[in-house]
Symmetry: C3
Subunit: 448 residues, 3 copies
């Protein structure tokens, strides 16, 4: 249990109890807690603002919500679990019979212990959620339902933090902050994003600029695109949405970008097909998912995928009170951070390289990279000093031959069968010796 693990665990406990929704105090409080870990800048958009085909809704204020029976016993109270109140509920204060009340109570009969997560953002309603077991135990009688809430003109909030790199080409990493107390969906996303930020901050150098975005799902990313879409279209090289990144015994899972040529698609396909990482690939679909549906809408078509692990809709706790820290686990959050950091490093290396001496072979012995005698007995030597089945030498010859500005490092790995990892040391060695330039992130011709 290292320092990072402890910090993640602590952040989880701070964020979990907050009653988030797509607008309101919950989002702002979440952002302000996150600021202790990542230097977020917060933005707001006023209620009623048109954002493409959508409009910023009223801000939801929720103060109290309970049902009592005739004797004044509390049946449910959102103080005990914030899922008990239908998210975006309008106020109510009424006494009614059980039969009158039933249509306003939401349950999951096939998961009788679970309190469902129910929302009604765009149609005014009130309602309560409870476990099916509790619902079945309700007795005839008169119930007092009370919700002290408000839908008022206010604002929608989102935030971002930008970690600069050598180039203004950007990697967009987006996650969402609008669900109340659920762990895998949604806290896993902000946890991974915040601590990934801190990993990348420690890198000695970054070729790309990294943009971390925290938005209420759907309406938040649409509002973000409304404000930053043009910039993103010009600068985003790659990226992904983070969602549902916990879950014991689940491998990392990647939803491909709609844009088939997205660099992130190629990297993950390579890692999966070579077995270099235990990762599952899902096709792109606009039918379900998270904010990649917005980033990959046809007008933007950003080269954005999505990482998950225990995927939305595919586990019992999805959108109900069974989605807990025990199911998510902090260990798996750390695994997700590790794996995604590794993918981001590969993405940094995966550019186009240029052999500085492209005419004929480089005279490698001049640089101590070739044996100075040729005998049948040194056929397994890379240099006078390196008897490694000629591995280093072969990787150097391969890299120099294909470093023509038109083959990406992934292309070279695929052509040659060497794994990505084999090239990294050799790239650094050749760059130190002035024999190689790159990575560049666009093809270039050898100057002839």
């Amino acid at each position: 249990m290292n320092k990072e693990y402890e910090l993640i665990d602590q952040l989880f406990d701070e964020l979990f109890p907050i009653t988030r929704s797509i607008t309101g105090e919950g989002v702002r409080k979440t952002i302000s807690i996150l600021k202790k870990y990542i230097p977020l800048e917060m933005f707001s958009v006023k209620t009623g603002t048109k954002v493409f085909d959508w409009e910023i809704p009223k801000e939801w204020v929720i103060r109290e919500a309970w049902i009592k029976d005739e004797e004044g016993n509390e049946i449910v109270n959102m103080k005990n679990h914030n899922l008990h109140v239908l998210n975006y509920s309008i106020p109510v204060n009424k006494k009614m019979s059980l039969e009158e009340l039933k249509p306003f109570i939401h349950t999951i009969p096939h998961l009788p212990e679970a309190i469902p997560y129910v929302t009604s953002y765009y149609k005014e309603r009130w309602g309560f959620c409870m476990s099916y077991n509790q619902f079945k135990s309700l007795k005839q009688g008169i119930y007092h339902v009370f919700i002290d809430s408000e839908l008022k003109n206010g604002e929608l909030n989102y935030a971002h933090a930008i970690l600069p790199g050598k180039s203004d080409k950007e990697i967009l990493i987006s996650t969402y902050i609008c669900h109340p107390s659920m762990a895998n969906n949604e806290l896993s996303g902000p946890l991974v994003a915040a601590f990934l930020y801190n990993r990348l901050k420690k890198w000695k150098e970054r070729n790309f600029t990294y943009r971390f975005v925290f938005v209420p799902e759907t309406i938040g990313s649409i509002a973000y695109l409304h404000r930053f879409g043009e910039h993103l279209r010009k600068h985003v090289y790659s990226g992904f949405v983070l969602t549902c990144l916990g879950g014991k015994n689940y491998p990392l899972s990647f939803k491909r970008s709609r844009n088939k040529n997205a660099p992130i698609n190629k990297i993950v396909d390579y890692l999966m097909s070579t077995g270099e990482m235990d990762i599952v690939v899902r096709p792109f679909t606009p039918i379900n998912g998270s904010d990649e549906r917005q980033y990959c809408s046809p007008g933007f078509n950003l080269p954005i995928g999505q990482f998950a692990r225990m995927v939305y809709g595919q586990y019992d706790g999805y959108h109900n009170s069974l989605d807990t820290k025990e199911v998510m686990t902090i260990e798996k959050i750390v695994d997700s951070i590790d794996e995604i950091e590794r993918i981001l490093k590969i993405q940094e290396w995966n550019g186009y390289y240029v052999n500085v001496n492209p005419f004929g072979e480089v005279k490698l012995d001049k640089h101590g990279l070739y044996p100075d005698m040729n005998t049948p007995l040194n056929r397994d030597a890379s240099t006078n000093f390196k008897r490694d089945q000629r591995k280093q030498l072969n990787v150097i010859l391969t890299l120099l031959n294909y470093s023509d500005g038109e083959h990406s490092l992934l292309d070279i790995a695929e052509i040659s069968g060497y794994c990505f990892h084999d090239f990294v040391d050799v790239i650094q060695l050749l760059k130190r010796k002035g024999l190689l330039e790159g990575p560049y992130y666009e093809k270039r011709s050898l100057s002839v």
Copy 2:
């Protein structure tokens, strides 16, 4: 047996007895009968006219043709079957021994009941055709052969009818009218063409203009291309030749266009590979076939395929008297019309569509296309009122996401796995709601 069936049957009986050839009265009579069913315009080209590497031949007039034995008994007479006379025969009036006669008599030894169909368009000859059984029964003696025919300067005739649509992009549908009394090859072609015309005429709207062409095979399509080739090269979007479209127990069969990107190739490949239609695909070849050999000659390379059923050269009756209405069947003519009409409808739908609101998702609940509450229990609802495993909603999301002007409807069907049919209702729904434009038949960028 509906009205259409009866009309096809009646047209068959009118056309069957005519002694057609590549020129002459037979072609003109055929066109004039067809005019009762389809408003054909007839064209003529004078004997001797150069058409590309060819020349319009003399017009064939045939009045009488018979062989009599010494006693004056008729051995054969073209009044009984017009295949008895070699097509394009020059006149003859001679008495000769059986041995002298034999070289002028054509039979099919391996089909001893069949009278062969023999032509000699471009070399002057006379001759008779009979069954091999009859040939074997001929006795020694003197025979009187008599053919009253003429090869005179005249004209070659063809005809077309044009059914206009919203666009001047054309669908070329070509068939041939030069074979005497044979049913599958050739009457099935003109029958399907004439009644397909009447089906398309009844459509509420046509995006394309449909050009129906009736020509003598080979020389007729070459003459047609000589006159209309430039126009066709500019306007033809798709099309096909119709030939051999009858035959019990045979599925529809498509010969691919030489032009690999021909829309008709893609549609039929899709129908075949998904199993949405029982259809067989043949590769393009210039070695045999019908007028697609001319339309797909390298100088024109029109995106034209060919539909058949019981394919030329692959059934006993091919080019002989066994090719009858019983073998062809009117039922199969109707089946061919049904299937080709369906393919033409798919071709109309199969354009590029444009999502009017391409930035972020469309706010579907505004349009009654999304449930207004989100609970674990309505995950199978497309709208508040449609509990269909979310099928309509998923099709809408798929269609809107890929309606970027760069994916054809077939592309979208292939990407998504939905069948073509699933999209048709949804397209109409979205167009009514002003959310979708198209189909267009060329790619277009989203205006950004």
Copy 3:
């Protein structure tokens, strides 16, 4: 045993004994002997000249090299086998104990009969090579080692011969002349090159110009590229390096060009995949091989492959005294010449053809290429006189239809399933009749 076989055998015997290295008298003597068979022009480059990342080394003069024991008995003498002296050895004249001597003696313990071939071009060393068996039998005592050699300012030599054709597009055929007495590697290469030259010289016509290059390996091809690289980049259409072309029971083996679109790649792939030739294909790699590593360096990327048979590094005799004429065999040299000549002929035919009458089909009967009567009984006749299952006719129809300037003959063979050979006679026939033009070696549109 024909004349050519005898000449090859005689040339082998002349060239084998010469003590070649990358510079010096051996190379010049080799070129002067080759001149009796191929009109080579010799070039020289001065010691110290910079050629890309390399520099022309000093010229090696070797006069005498031996080891004697205390009694004056010769242990080894390069007069007996020129592999006994380390290639590029500096002079030495010394008496030393066996223990002192051992580090200067090279052997191959796992091939105890073989004298290894050892070089030290770019680091000054002296040394001897002997069999491991002899090495083990050396007794304690004082040995006299004597090498009378010199590294002097001089020149590097290479040579070429150019066989002109109709076009100035060139086929580059390169082989190397720097190894002392070894047969498969290297004499097989110069032998095949010299006699291939004489085969091509006898062709009635050559569409391409053929450039035969003889260079010391690596440094020689780099020097050649330094002088002729720009010309090659502009003119080379195809080509290959010749190496290791003997070896009983080995099929011809092709190393693909780095340039995936190289015509030679396509031809060999076709021959292999159709089984028209028994040939093995190796992928391109910059890791090992011969001068194709230079011609395919990224700055040049010439469309050059490599032909071999018993491939370098894959047989016992590689780089040692077991590489003899008996292992190579003159028969296999003749086989290699036969096969490569056949490939070069295919390459000449494999251009783009143009149908002179591309609009509609050609009227083949006008040209005696079609039967003048059409009956069910002549369906297997190509013409009135050719009953060949219509093969000639079908090949003609196929060729004319695809001779649109955009399909190479290989493309047509692949589309149609006819083998390359089927087309050759028909091309000549159609050209004689003025119906076909070509081959061209670049795509062209039909003039419309």
